[in-house]
């Protein structure tokens, strides 16, 4: 138990997977984490604060990926490489969408700068309008701003306290959002990557749930833990498709709402309040 936490803490202070020079080292580091998490899960309820702290390294990695994507985007723009710029934008979105469990509730101002929607003149979607909507590469200023905001966030998340209640709020809020029909074509319609957004959101939900909450819920109510895990698996299966147009939206909505209901039921059993589905309204 102590080992598990220590392993994760040392990982955080040391090299994070994404920054390792060689894939083999990276895998070795990841294996350490996997064992640690598995041990934590087996040992029962880790203190939620420690589990939440264990989530930080993934958050740093995901925001780092978004930042790298934005920087690559800048390089491709300079090289007048439209397709390369589009690919970099899409890659940057993966880490960003995974970390939405955190961003919407913890750093709403930066969230607005980075991911304004739908009336965006800045951030990812402001760039998307020109880059994908008009095949234009004159988005240098917007990209510079995006890089600055992501770098700011990347630095901030080293020190932001990761309160388990707010993270549970974030998981529940994102689970609700994934089940919603923002509009035909989804959030990133112009780039055709709305489905990728949803897949990354679901990955982010699963990651946060497993790293932070699953052990505690398993220890207090195994049946509830089973149900939550099953709901997450169903949601994953529903978004594991190749085209947004073949999405079973009603099933996704029903499963996502069921997951939220389960998280609401689980909260008091792990010493937390019922999660609010909108940060800042509790």
């Amino acid at each position: 138990m102590v080992n598990a936490v220590e392993t994760r803490m040392s990982d955080r202070n040391g090299v994070v997977g994404a920054h390792l020079p060689h894939a083999r080292c990276r895998r070795a580091a990841m294996l350490g984490v996997i064992v640690a998490i598995a041990l934590a899960a087996n040992a029962g309820a880790a203190p939620l604060e420690a589990s939440a702290e264990g989530y930080r390294r993934y958050l740093i990695e995901d925001i780092g990926q978004a930042l790298n994507g934005a920087r690559t985007l800048r390089e491709r723009l300079v090289a007048a490489d439209l397709d390369g710029a589009k690919r970099a934008w899409i890659e940057g979105r993966i880490g960003w969408e995974r970390s939405e469990v955190f961003t919407s509730g913890f750093v709403p101002e930066l969230d607005q700068q980075i991911d304004a929607w739908p009336n965006a003149s800045h951030g990812f979607h402001g760039i998307e309008v020109k880059l994908f909507g008009a095949n234009r590469t004159d988005v240098g200023d917007e990209t510079d701003a995006l890089i600055a905001h992501l770098a700011d966030l990347h630095a901030q998340i080293e020190n932001i306290p990761l309160d388990p209640q707010r993270l549970l709020n974030g998981v529940a809020r994102l689970a609700f959002e994934v089940g919603g029909n923002k509009a035909d074509g989804g959030e990133s319609r112009l780039s055709g990557t709305s489905l990728n957004d949803m897949q990354s959101n679901v990955d982010g939900i699963e990651l946060a749930y497993r790293v932070i909450f699953s052990g505690a819920i398993e220890a207090s109510d195994p049946r509830l833990a089973d149900a939550a895990r099953a709901a997450i698996e169903r949601i994953k299966a529903t978004v594991r498709i190749s085209d947004l147009r073949s999405l079973d939206a009603e099933k996704l909505r029903a499963d996502s709402e069921e997951l939220v209901a389960l998280l609401q039921s689980a909260a008091p059993k792990i010493g937390l309040s019922k999660p609010t589905l909108e940060e800042g309204s509790q």
């Binding site: 890659e91 993966i94 304004a116 035909d184 074509g185 112009l190 055709g192 699953s214 009603e250 509790q282």
Partner: protein
Amino acid sequence: MIGDAKRGWRDRKHRPVIGQRGLWAAATLVVLLPHAATSFPVDGDQAVLPAGSELNEDALDVPREVLHSEYRGDRTSYLVALGDLAFNSPAILGDVARRANISCGTCHVNGASNAKLFVPGMSTRPGNFDTTGPLFNPKADNHVLDPVRIPSLRGARYLAPYGHDGRMASLRDFVRNVVINEFAGPEPSAAILDAIVAYIQDIDFLPNPKLGARGRLNESASETERRGEALFSKPFPRDPNLSCAGCHLPAGAFVDHLQHDVGSGGLFKTPTLLNANFNAPYFHDGRYDDLGQVVDHFDRVFGLALSAQDRGDLVAYLRAVGDGRQPYDRDSVMVRFKEISTFSLLLAQAIGMRDREAIELAVDTLGGELRDLTERFPDHRNPAVTGALVERRLARAALKDVVISLRRIAIAVTTGDFDAATAEYRTYYDLTFSRAMPLLRGTEPWSLFNPALREAHGAQRRQMLRTPAQAQR
């Protein structure tokens, strides 16, 4: 193409997990593998509707719905409320419609029409739509772009036969054909079909203060209108057996239930003139924008030799006949809650009756409408709306809690626990009407129910959703 690459990316992370709780660690292993920064090929729009589609869902003014049973001071029946629910539920239609969030009510807003609806490839002008086009049911595609005007359903019970060419005597047959063949929906249950028909048959014409008994103008009519009324009944100069009123019988809702060739390209049934002021565009294909053009058509085709004054008088008369009291409601929180209230009452009754089909439909439709309502109260990510952010979040949180409460009802019903469903309904009711409704009303000025905010939001959103070709213009 994008699919293959994405599967590749996902397969690396989602290897088969063999087992349940005991393999939790294995599942953890899978999810915690390195986040692969794999390139996605750049793909295009994955929207169901073609770019440039306009469903007019952001309209500030919505047609007012007058239900016969309500007008008489009663509550609507269970049957009518269930039909209203199904009419506004994408779930009864086919895959494409459901994905595009289209229901009967998308085209027939509150049972009226939708003059601004336009879908490229399916419409030739706003307000018409090709029900035998390729989009919703390829099997029904006749390979001809032959859109028809979206008709208002007000007074439909008086307006048989159904379809622009009057092809079906039975409204029930017509509705079933729309659901199954035009929109590729599953065979509706008899109960749902009956309910939709009951709802449509309950939609009244808007009351018209200018009409008296037998469809005659009353004492409030102007001189011009009276002259128009006389012309309306006057035999056509070239064929004294014909007159406008010969087909548009004033005492019979201005229809004769027959099809005629009036030189518009075939036989089409006589359309009602009641509330016609709100039913533009006109003719079966929506070719005319206004009633003046309609009068000109008859003048030309039937050689009426109308003077300028005659023409003006006839148009004035048609506008008097086509009038209606308070044709629109301003979209507002209370307008939304009126519908939520109707459907909530239905849900309570359905739980009491253990009507699973109705419960499922109510949860689905109410949940969808509540989610849509939530988006009318933008969160921090929408830069077009500033002010009252805390209140907007409270409103959003309250609505989301309502949606989850609805889901709890559905879950309880799925497990056959109707006592739990009844108990949860009480929670749902309190959350909806005691918590969410006051919060929404208080925050309404900072929501997209504020016309200025809605306009700004809509304009920017349309700009964002332009196609690349449009954006480069």
